[in-house]
Structure formats: structure tokens, C-alpha cells
């Protein structure tokens, strides 16, 4: 079982050696980065039971802050991740504290986080002299990485980004696995399943919800930074509702009961438009159809149905 768990990762690591199609590797890179967002969102949605609509905002805030730190302070990409994370933590704590202090649950939590998410998008859209509004920003820099043996080099080109985003995805999965397999993950499960009981067992539900929301948002912000520096542009639609809904669709499709399930959903929804050539309207309809069928036929998502795993505490 343990070997089986490492097999897909090993296969992904070896893939560029046998597959030289930049087109397909690019689809993988997008799947990895969106997979990071979906996996982190599932920490708060699938494992803590809170339907946050704020993850697109966290993704966008991460992208903008990292780039703006690089261009304003002339620091490296890696250093710029610090202010991006710090700002995400600060905003998550404020938004989360407001929502959880008022004990907003289910749809109320979704609606209020959505409002904050829109607020963030409108700030980005209208703060023209910093964010360049609707036109967005061009990101011409690439992160520079130093590796023993290889020296320092720019992460540029498809293969480099393939490995860079794969490592990002593995780190995201690792952080989620460590958190979820510890007592923190058990507190998240307790909150998801029975808040009243969790409280009488001494679990501070306010604090653990806030922790889950904040960790998920930091990871989404890091994914956003990667996305911006890979694609080379940032625009306000990063923070849009559509982006949030895409992430939710990935999680539902892949399976919210496991840590890696959302990655499967990210692959399907990223790859599908390239496999089937359709107009934008038809594509949206097809997505909707797939999502409806999945929820009806496979409530545990693709991976959940295949592996038959349930969420452990």
C-alpha cells in the first residue's frame, strides 16, 4: 500500500524523460498548480467541513503580492513569498475571525467569505496605479533556483517548470498530510462531524477553524505565486467567483474524502478542454453536465469511488 502510494509520484517524476511533448507537459504544469489550490482548499472544505469561497482571493492575493514585492523591493521570488504569506495570514485571520466569531455555518459562511473575496477582487481591480486594474500585470521575471551541482539557474522552459510545480504540489500534499494525520486533523474531523460534541471534549472550535482556513489560504497563495510566475501575467480574474467555482468543481470531481483526490479533478478539468475541442459555451455546459453526473453517481468523487477510501480521523 505504501509502495502504491509513491508509485504515481515516481511516474510523474519520470514522465518528462519519456514524454517530450511540451503541449502535454504544459497541461500537467497547469494541473499541478491548480491541484495545489484544490488540495489546499479541500483542507478547509472536505476535512474541516467549511465551504470557503475565499480560496480564489487567497490565490490572487498570493500572486499579486509576490510579484509586487519582487518589482517594488527588487527582492528574489523566494523572499517575496514571505510578504505574500504574511499578508495572506493577516487577511485570513481577519476574515476567518469575523466569520467564526459570528458562528457562520454552511451557506452563511460561504456567502460571507464570497463577499470578502469580491471585496478583494474589487480592490485589485480599482487600485490602478499599483495593480494596473483590468489590464493586469506582466511578470517578466522567473524564479532563480540554486541546486547543488547544477549551480544557480532561472526556472524557465517547460521541463524546469514541470519539476518546479511538481515539487510545489508534493509539498502541498505533504503539509496537508502532516496536519491531517496529527491531532490537528482529528480536531478538524471533530468540527466537521459534530461541533457541539467537539466543544464539550475541550476542542476550541474557533481556533481550529481559523487554523484550517489560514493554512489552506497560505497554500493557495503560494500556488497563486507559482501560477503568476509561470504564466507571466496576473489579472483580477484570478480572484473571481468563477475561479473559486472551478476549484470546488475539481474537488468534487476528484473526491473530497482524500488528500490527493482533488488532484485527479484538477487533471480532468484542466486536460478536458484540450482533449475535446469545443466552443466556450459548449464547454461550460459539458463541465456542468460532468459535475452533476459526478455528484449524482459518485458522491465521493473519482478517486473516492475508485479507492473506496473514507476520511479517517
Amino acid at each position: 500500500m505504501t509502495a502504491l502510494r509513491w508509485l504515481p509520484w515516481a511516474a510523474l517524476a519520470l514522465l518528462p524523460l519519456v514524454l517530450h511533448s511540451n503541449f502535454i507537459l504544459t497541461i500537467f504544469i497547469f494541473s499541478f498548480i491548480l491541484g495545489m489550490t484544490a488540495v489546499s482548499f479541500n483542507l478547509v472544505f472536505g476535512f474541516t467541513g467549511q465551504l470557503s469561497m475565499f480560496h480564489a482571493a487567497a490565490f490572487g492575493i498570493g500572486a499579486y503580492t509576490t510579484y509586487l514585492s519582487v518589482s517594488l523591493w527588487h527582492v528574489s521570488f523566494w523572499i517575496a513569498l514571505l510578504p505574500a504569506s504574511a499578508l495572506t495570514v493577516a487577511i485570513s485571520l481577519v476574515v476567518g475571525a469575523i466569520c467564526f466569531k459570528f458562528k457562520l455555518k454552511a451557506f452563511y459562511f460561504a456567502v460571507v467569505t464570497l463577499a470578502f473575496s469580491e471585496l478583494a477582487r474589487l480592490v485589485v481591480l480599482n487600485w490602478n496605479n499599483v495593480t494596473n486594474g483590468t489590464l493586469g500585470l506582466m511578470v517578466l521575471d522567473k524564479p532563480v533556483l540554486w541546486l547543488p551541482g547544477a549551480g544557480s539557474f532561472k526556472i524557465d522552459g517547460t521541463t524546469a517548470w514541470y519539476y518546479f510545480s511538481l515539487v510545489g504540489l508534493m509539498l502541498t500534499v505533504l503539509v496537508c498530510a502532516i496536519v491531517l494525520r496529527s491531532w490537528i486533523g482529528r480536531c478538524f474531523a471533530a468540527i466537521r462531524l459534530n461541533e457541539d460534541l467537539a466543544q464539550t471534549l475541550g476542542i476550541d472550535i474557533f481556533r481550529y477553524k481559523l487554523l484550517s482556513f489560514t493554512i489552506a489560504n497560505i497554500l493557495a497563495a503560494l500556488a497563486g505565486s507559482l501560477y503568476a510566475f509561470y504564466t507571466g501575467y496576473i489579472e483580477p480574474s484570478y480572484l473571481s467567483i468563477a475561479q473559486s467555482l472551478d476549484i470546488i468543481a475539481m474537488v468534487l470531481l476528484g473526491g473530497r474524502t482524500s488528500i490527493v483526490g482533488p488532484i485527479v479533478g484538477a487533471f480532468v478539468l484542466t486536460g478536458l478542454p484540450h482533449v475535446i475541442e469545443l466552443s466556450a459555451e459548449m464547454r461550460a455546459m459539458l463541465y456542468g453536465l460532468i459535475l452533476i453526473l459526478t455528484i449524482l453517481l459518485m458522491p465521493n468523487g473519482i478517486l473516492g469511488t475508485l479507492v473506496g477510501r473514507r476520511r479517517a480521523a
Partner: protein, 258 residues
């Protein structure tokens, strides 16, 4: 005095579920709380454990006021309550349910060091002492055979015992039990009594609400009786049950005169 409840009042709208209830729990005793349906027993435990704030009055725990504090603060301070209708994590196994309840134990034992234990090569969650404690509690509550079953599959009696097991895992100094024996068969009640005696031997103080007068009479050291939110009697269980006002509350006026 371990727990002092002074003039506790709780109103729901115009209805006073508790009016000026005062009593004490001394160290090392089992207090029984009698009363017919709707007499405010469950409300009393809910106010003590922080589920509802009181409308008036004071609760002192080891000399510190705790009324109106949040349930998790009160649980951490050492007062844990079981639910009348068992509250469980139904999707999880029995073992996982009890493991979640080890939260406070882990917190007390490790404090902030719990975060160092997050490193992948260390794991406080699998700490052998805590695992052994979980095994002990499961065995005591006779749940060790079903430990890998889902909580949703348990019988009512087992659900109740799981509720007690989870509360035990919190290692409270005062355990508030809300009708632990209701709905249990005779042998299950025998098992429950054995568990409660074990708890007492481990210096846990108990405060028990129950309808089963003979069960509570056997196990309690002292008792109080409530009717319509008012304390109407206090003393040994026998004396309380012979009190004419208690008999009247339970059975009506004719029986009290007879």
C-alpha cells in the same frame, strides 16, 4: 469545596428553567440529581458545562468563577458532560471517536510541544501512553470488541457507553452524566455501575442525573431534587426520595399524603 453553584437562574424567554438553584459538590462524592421530566436537570448541567450562559447566579469551580465561559474552557478546566442522547462522530470508528477525545490529555501532557511533534518523524498522536489509555478505556466500557466498527453501527446501550468512554478520555475531575442509565438493559446498567465505580476509584467526582431512582439511589452519596427549576430537597438519596415534596413531584399529591 470543589463545585459551588449559587443562586443559578436560567430563563428561556418567559420560562424560568432554573430558579435560584444552589448546591455544592464536595471532593470525592457522587451527587445524584432527581427530578421529573422538565424539572430543569438537563438545563442545569448545560449551564454548568457552558453550553448555555446563566441568566443570573454564580458557579465556582475550585474557587474560580466559571459561569458563562465557553464549553471548551470548562472542559479544559476539568468539568466534562455526557449527553442524554449520545452525541458521537458517527462516520468514524469507535477507536477514532475515543482518540479525538484524547485532545485534552495530549494538550495537558505536551502543551506547546505538541507543535514540535508535528514533524513527520515524531508523532504525538501515536504516543504509546495515550494509546494504552485509549485501550484501557475501551476495555472498561466493554467496547474493545467493536473498536473498529463505525459509531453509527452501535446499539443504543453501546452508544451511551461510548459517550461515557469519550468523557473518561478527557480525564475530568468532575464528570456530569445526563441520564446515563436511561434506555439501558439490566446487564448494561451493571456494566455502567462498574465503570462509575472505577471512575470514582480514580478520584473522579460525579454528578449524575437519572430517572432510574433505584440505580441512582444505589450509587449516589448525596442527592438533590429539582421540580420546575427549583431545588426542593437535599440530603442522602434515601432521605430525598422519602421527602413528601419529592414524592408529590413524581407521583402527584395523593401519594404524598398517603
Amino acid at each position: 469545596m470543589l463545585l459551588e453553584v449559587i443562586g443559578l437562574t436560567r430563563r428561556f424567554g418567559g420560562l424560568a428553567a432554573l430558579s435560584e438553584v444552589s448546591f455544592e459538590v464536595a471532593s470525592g462524592e457522587i451527587l445524584g440529581i432527581f427530578g421529573p421530566n422538565g424539572s430543569g436537570k438537563t438545563t442545569l448541567l448545560n449551564v454548568i458545562s457552558g453550553i448555555f450562559p446563566p441568566s443570573a447566579g454564580m458557579i465556582r469551580w475550585k474557587g474560580h468563577r466559571i459561569e458563562g465561559r465557553k464549553p471548551h474552557h470548562i472542559a479544559a478546566a476539568g468539568i466534562v458532560k455526557t449527553f442524554q442522547n449520545p452525541q458521537l462522530f458517527l462516520e468514524l470508528t469507535i477507536h477514532e471517536n475515543v482518540a479525538i477525545a484524547s485532545h485534552l490529555r495530549l494538550k495537558r501532557q505536551f502543551g506547546a510541544r505538541r507543535f514540535a511533534e508535528l514533524l513527520p518523524w515524531r508523532n504525538a498522536a501515536r504516543h504509546p501512553e495515550i494509546a494504552a489509555r485509549i485501550d484501557h478505556v475501551l476495555a472498561l466500557c466493554r467496547l474493545d470488541d467493536v473498536r473498529d466498527q463505525f459509531a453509527a453501527s452501535l446499539s443504543y446501550g453501546q452508544e451511551k457507553m461510548l459517550g461515557v468512554a469519550m468523557a473518561m478520555m478527557c480525564e475530568p475531575e468532575l464528570l456530569l452524566l445526563d441520564e446515563p442509565a436511561s434506555g439501558l438493559g439490566e446487564d448494561e446498567i451493571g456494566n455502567l455501575e462498574a465503570v462509575l465505580r472505577d471512575l470514582r476509584a480514580a478520584a473522579t467526582n460525579l454528578c449524575i442525573i437519572d430517572h432510574k431512582v433505584d440505580f441512582l439511589g444505589r450509587i449516589a452519596d448525596r442527592a438533590i431534587a429539582l421540580q420546575q427549576g427549583i431545588k426542593i430537597a437535599e440530603g442522602t438519596p434515601d432521605a430525598v426520595l422519602r421527602d413528601p415534596r419529592v414524592i408529590e413531584a413524581y407521583l402527584g399529591r395523593q401519594h404524598a399524603r398517603a
